[in-house]
């Protein structure tokens, strides 16, 4: 690979190689201050499908230690997104040390709230907003549960703001924290945002999960309790490696479900959602 960039996110080290300089320059700028790694956990490769595609209509293939057989190439202008997707792919296919939950997380007072749910439920946006309002953002996409201790490890990658969510942050946070606006991606318009300094400074500190929420956007405000069975099954669906971890994964998930209070919350707008989160957080800490 012609160009290389290394970084550590939470407890996971990455080496990213690229045929082009540009995507790595963008990564380096946005991930400035993230620790290096000497022996990375995963390698990501961004490469041209054919040698001439480095220059002519350049398109980026995503590869690495773990690959999908029929991944489609992306425009070089979306190279930053390709790198992020490459890291996601390694985590989704190769992570075997932590139980990986497709969930966002934020910390306050040494304890964490976890938010999970279907795509579009708003977990990413809510965690990013919490991160700007006195909480420490632990991650907007993946949460890592330590199977031995039950603690939650942060994975504060760039926040991937999509479509309407972008406007919630533009003008509110330091412009230097934003990547370029990427339009016409498979998920619409995307803009990456660097977590704030507090999230980066404390990313190596795991904490106890204290509240688990299943948010749902587009409904009247409501809070529902959930049965342990439903919570368990939905978390197995939200995990990419639950089956692969075998008994250790089962034990970690069972203990999470048994010990962490859980609520489903419906919300019509983000301000209501944030109020509900704060309210449930206060109640759960009583």
């Amino acid at each position: 690979m012609r160009h290389e960039f290394r970084l550590t996110v939470g407890p996971v080290g990455f080496r990213i190689g690229s045929d082009w300089r540009e995507p790595l320059d963008r990564l380096a700028a946005l991930y400035d201050g993230y620790p290096e790694t000497a022996l990375p956990d995963f390698t990501v490769r961004l490469f041209a499908q054919r040698p001439w595609r480095r220059f002519i209509r350049p398109s980026v293939m995503i590869g690495g230690d773990y690959m999908l057989p029929d991944a489609a190439p992306m425009a070089l202008a979306h190279g930053l997104l390709a790198a992020e997707m490459g890291m996601n792919l390694q985590m989704a296919l190769g992570q075997r040390r932590y139980l990986l939950l497709h969930a966002s997380a934020a910390e306050k007072g040494g304890k964490a709230v976890l938010m999970t749910g279907a795509s579009g439920a708003g977990k990413s946006t809510l965690s990013a907003l919490l991160g700007e309002r006195g909480w420490r953002l632990m991650g907007d996409e993946f949460a890592l549960v330590d199977c031995e201790t039950g603690l939650l490890h942060a994975f504060p990658r760039l926040v991937s703001l999509k479509n309407e969510a972008i406007a919630l942050f533009e003008g509110q946070v330091d412009a230097r924290r934003f990547g370029p606006k990427l339009s016409d991606t498979p998920k619409g318009t995307i803009r990456h945002m660097r977590p704030n300094d507090e999230a980066v400074a404390h990313m190596a500190e795991p904490v106890k999960p204290a509240l688990l929420l299943f948010p749902r956007f587009g409904h009247e405000a409501a809070v529902r309790p959930m049965g342990a069975g439903e919570v368990f099954v939905r978390l197995t669906q939200a995990s990419t490696n639950y089956v692969a971890l075998g008994e250790a994964g089962f034990d970690a998930l069972s203990s999470l479900v048994k010990t962490v209070p859980t609520r489903a919350i419906d919300y019509p707008d983000t301000e209501t959602a944030l109020r509900l989160v704060e309210q449930l957080w206060t109640e759960s800490s009583l």
Binding site: L39, P40, D41, T43, R45, D65, R96, R97, A244, G246
Partner: protein, 338 residues
Amino acid sequence: MNDASALVRALRDPASVKSLDSDGWTALVSIARAEQLAGSLAYQVQGLELPAAAVRLMADARRSAEHQRRQALWEAEMARRALGDLDVPVILLKGTAYVAAGLSAGIGRSIGDLDILVPRDALDAVERALIERGGWEWVKEDEYDDAYYRDHMHELPPLIHKERDRMIDVHHTILPRTAKPTPDAQALVADSVPMANGLHFLSPPDMICHAAAHLFADGDLAGGLRNLWDIDRLCRDFFTQPGFWETLGERAERHELAKPVGRALRLAETLYGTPVDGDVAGRARAGDGLYLRRLFARDGWGCETRKPLRFAFYLRSHWLRMPPLMLARHLFTKWRKA
């Protein structure tokens, strides 16, 4: 690091990894993952004093291999339940057979699809039972491909399980029917070894013949380092048994695979220091060096290198798989559909 020799060295002489710096480890891990040998490597170096990050990565690889082992045995059990009362021998092949039989080749082995071999005249009944009772279904509904598999291949079109999303390949012999050598499929079945649960595995000499056939007579050498690692482990498990090499030589002749088996043994010896018998391995041939260059064609990023050589071996694999006229027709049909 410009080729895969680092991985071969680490497998052959695990203590040698102690001299690796972190860049050496980084390359080794990527190459091992790309060659599907990370689990095997992780068990080879288990217990050595290694850098903390390497210890963690190797533990991850063992966890992953353990999962694949469990999943492979479960798939085998599912096939056994679907086929149990047909009264035909069901013979496990490759990785699943190694772990089920408790062989060294199974330690840390990455395992994908379930491969089984059944007698040819039982194929229809087996296929029907897998679909009607087992919950498997055809992967592709393409008439040409389907007919091609049934007329010319050594296996049924691949079946995938509806719920578990796992594939099963049902073989009736170990090489395509269009390939020049014709292995004695009846002998493979007749000499297979039953296990307590009723499933079988191939006799050890036949396992080696199968691995060699897969590598040289059929494949384009993709996964070759793993394949030869299997052969190395199999030889080490069995070579002290009296008459092992004679039997292997006889079986290779019988399956018309004496040349591939000989070459596999020579390459395994060169790479992994495998104990081999001179009569079965035969004398070194000029081509062996090309094979080694092809097998090592991977860089420290896990990327494939030596593209022209890789392509040459790819062409060769097709050439060996079918006669020229048929190859032309096949490629034309494929090209027209693409």
